[in-house]
């Protein structure tokens, strides 16, 4: 049976969570899906019904987080925001049932994306909010999964993202800022979705991200001269599969056919030896407390480190026992590749909606 035990957690601390419930849904369900099916058939039909009910319960909850004007908010009756929108869509794709897919109102989602699109190609995180490169990734992720990309939706976006790449090679939150792991992943992944990753200075980016792996700890730092943090196991190490693919598309003959360009074993050591809470869950670094965000991203990073390649060329490097093996995760969306394929297949059977809402607005000045 699958370990989809998300429901219990989701409904506790609904109001008080720092990470909004949709983000919790995603981080928890993704953490769960990374653990592979142990192959044991569900024993009783009651268990199966219970699982189905749980999935349904989550779908209904996320439906309540969906704004009448499109997109998902941090909780029921909250304004739509790109971060919970990203998380909600990912969570629903992980659930992967018809009911889950149908929660998403594609037409309204498109309207929401247009409502946060800026003339310079960037996106604000929510109406009246601020721009940063995460928003482009959230928008590109949900739009590509649900097949709502219109010809004009991402006009200028790739150029804006490119302007976030700085001298160091990484990307900052907005043009001119310090290169930062989280923002770099978001910008790069968004460009991959838009098919424009080759326009980055890939070599400098490669030099920057590989310099972020700490030689003593084995984990990654978010920026130069900062401390290691377990979550960068995904945000930083996750860049290497994207870069590998980009270089491969350029026909680079010196590219490895057996490994991503970072020290995979060292990263796994850091995660397994330093980032586990004895009571379960994962964390930033020893001494810190566990949380769902770090659990999700440490595990995602572990998966990246364990699996090289794709369906055709795959090599595994599992540190420790076989039990440590996680399933591969999709390097762009960070949900299981099968779920990505399934969602894309489902939504591509539907036509791209026509934009009906307001036209792209300038940043709210009032």
């Amino acid at each position: 049976s699958c370990s989809l035990s998300i429901t219990v957690h989701v409904f506790s601390n609904l109001i008080m969570e720092e990470a909004s419930p949709p983000l919790r849904c995603f981080s928890e369900s993704h953490s769960s899906e990374l653990f592979s099916d142990d192959g044991v058939q569900t024993v009783t039909s009651r268990e199966q019904v219970s699982l189905t009910l749980s999935i349904s319960y989550v779908c209904q909850f996320l439906a309540r987080c969906q704004s009448p004007t499109g997109g998902f908010g941090g909780g029921p009756c909250q304004h739509a925001h790109l971060a919970p929108t990203y998380a909600a869509v990912n969570a629903l794709c992980i659930l992967g049932t018809e009911e889950a897919y149908e929660v998403i109102s594609r037409e309204k989602l498109l309207d929401f994306l247009y409502s946060v699109k800026q003339p310079d190609g960037s996106f604000v995180m929510h109406v009246g909010g601020e721009v940063d490169v995460r928003s482009a990734y959230c928008a590109a992720s949900v739009a590509s999964l649900t097949n709502i990309i219109t010809p004009t939706l991402f006009d200028g976006t790739h150029n804006w993202i490119l302007s976030c790449q700085n001298w160091e090679g990484g990307l900052g939150g907005v043009p001119g800022l310090e290169a930062h792991g989280g923002y770099t992943f978001c910008g790069t992944a968004a460009l991959v979705i838009l098919g424009k990753e080759h326009m980055l200075d890939l070599k400098t980016l490669l030099r920057w991200v590989t310099s972020r792996q700490m030689r003593f700890e084995g984990g990654f730092q978010g920026r130069c001269n900062k401390l290691v943090d377990g979550c960068y196991s995904f945000w930083q190490a996750g860049l290497l599969p994207l870069l590998h693919r980009a270089f491969f598309k350029e026909g680079d003959s010196t590219l490895s056919v057996s490994s991503w360009m970072f020290e995979r074993k060292a990263l796994q050591e850091y995660i397994l030896l330093c980032c586990q809470n004895p009571g379960g869950g994962l964390l930033d670094k020893p001494g810190k407390s566990r949380d769902f965000y770090h659990t999700c991203y440490c595990l995602s990073g572990l998966s990246i480190a364990q699996h090289f390649g794709n369906k055709d060329l795959h090599n595994e490097l599992i540190l420790g026992r076989d039990e440590n093996r996680l399933v591969p995760t999709h390097p762009v969306y960070n949900i299981c590749p099968e779920k990505v394929a399934q969602a894309i297949e489902h939504f591509h059977r539907l036509p791209v909606p026509v934009q009906t809402g307001p036209t792209p607005s300038a940043m709210d000045q009032s």
Partner: protein
Amino acid sequence: MAESEEEVDVLVQRVVKDINNAFKRNPNIDEIGLIPCPEVRYNRSPIVLVENKLGVESWCVKFLLPYVHNRLLLYRQRKQWLDREALVDITCTLLLLNPDFTTAWNVRKELLQCGVLNPEKDLYLVKLALSKHPKSPETWIHRRWVLQWLQKECSPSGQELKDQAEPRGDAVGRRPCERLQRALQEEMRVCADAAGRYPSNYNAWSHRIWVLQNMAKGNLKVLHDELSSTRLWVSMHLSDHSGFHYRQHLLKALARELSQVGETELHPSKQPNGESTAGASDDNHHNDVIPQLFHEEMELCTDLIESFPGHETLWCHRRHVFYLWHQWRREHLQGAGSQSPPLTHTDVLLSEEPCDDSSTSQTMDVDCVLDGSKHGSYTQDTKRLKRGPLLPHPALPSEHTFVSRILTDCRSTEQNRFAIAYRKWLDSVIGQ
């Protein structure tokens, strides 16, 4: 321990009142914090005010926060009314304890918009919230919103609107440009404080850059002042990559602004009188100032690297400054005999290197400038020669010399590694 709902209610209302009374008693509170105190004490106020520091005993937070949070949400959902004063008090309490609560900041925005709060008051609340949560993204975002609001209020059209409305308080009486001036200085202080409370505070330094771009655009004086005022700060925070990144931003902005000033001087058509400006002290001013700035920055870097071995940030800073300098030279000193002063031997060496950077240089129309001011520039060069000894500008050979020197003297393995990596970078990236 089970408390009745009434007990909690009474307690919380009291605490909210206590917090706000504290502010009324002492308008100079400059820091808030949580006092670890797990023992519940119903009879005593958990609010502690000592000098200008406001403390909240931790035991009350688990009652306080959900209560206040809930009341605000109920208000937002229109299930319970709160009058304006209650809203001010509640949002204040809430945000001091949990500044990442966007809804509360949004309520403050509405209170600002309808005139119940003035911008300076909210900026004060933000500053206090930052004293406890120096990174809080929502707080910095709200601060920028308030500053934009303030700018609008101080703009000519904003002033008209205000004159028509009723007077709201003392702050409004000040002249607008004075308000903005004070606000600008205050921003730098708030950023510096927050940067000191959390190492490599990305959000604080990003905010500082935003302030430069939105409240001091093209202001050379501010850029220069910031360069001098952060010099000491970075010297005491050697691993603060964000702080050094800020200096890199300042250098880039100064180089850009000064170059534009220089452009204006050298393009006669841009002058109203049609003549090219040829004031003896001003000509090619930027060509002296910019190299001087880079030179000083490299000197600072050298000093810090030598005094404090093994800080990666310093080497990263050196790379960036050298790269910026290298780029600027290529853009502005392209072609022989342009406005460049006759330089030291190191620069002669540099100019002999193959200069194949068409891919990286900006599209600067150097030719027209050369033609227009060839004679002028010769005279200017001669003038400059007479001014005194020239500074040796950073260049590849001098950088290699620096690395060798570090490697010879150094006893730190980290320093060794950084120096070798720097040399490798010089060869593979700059030297090409």
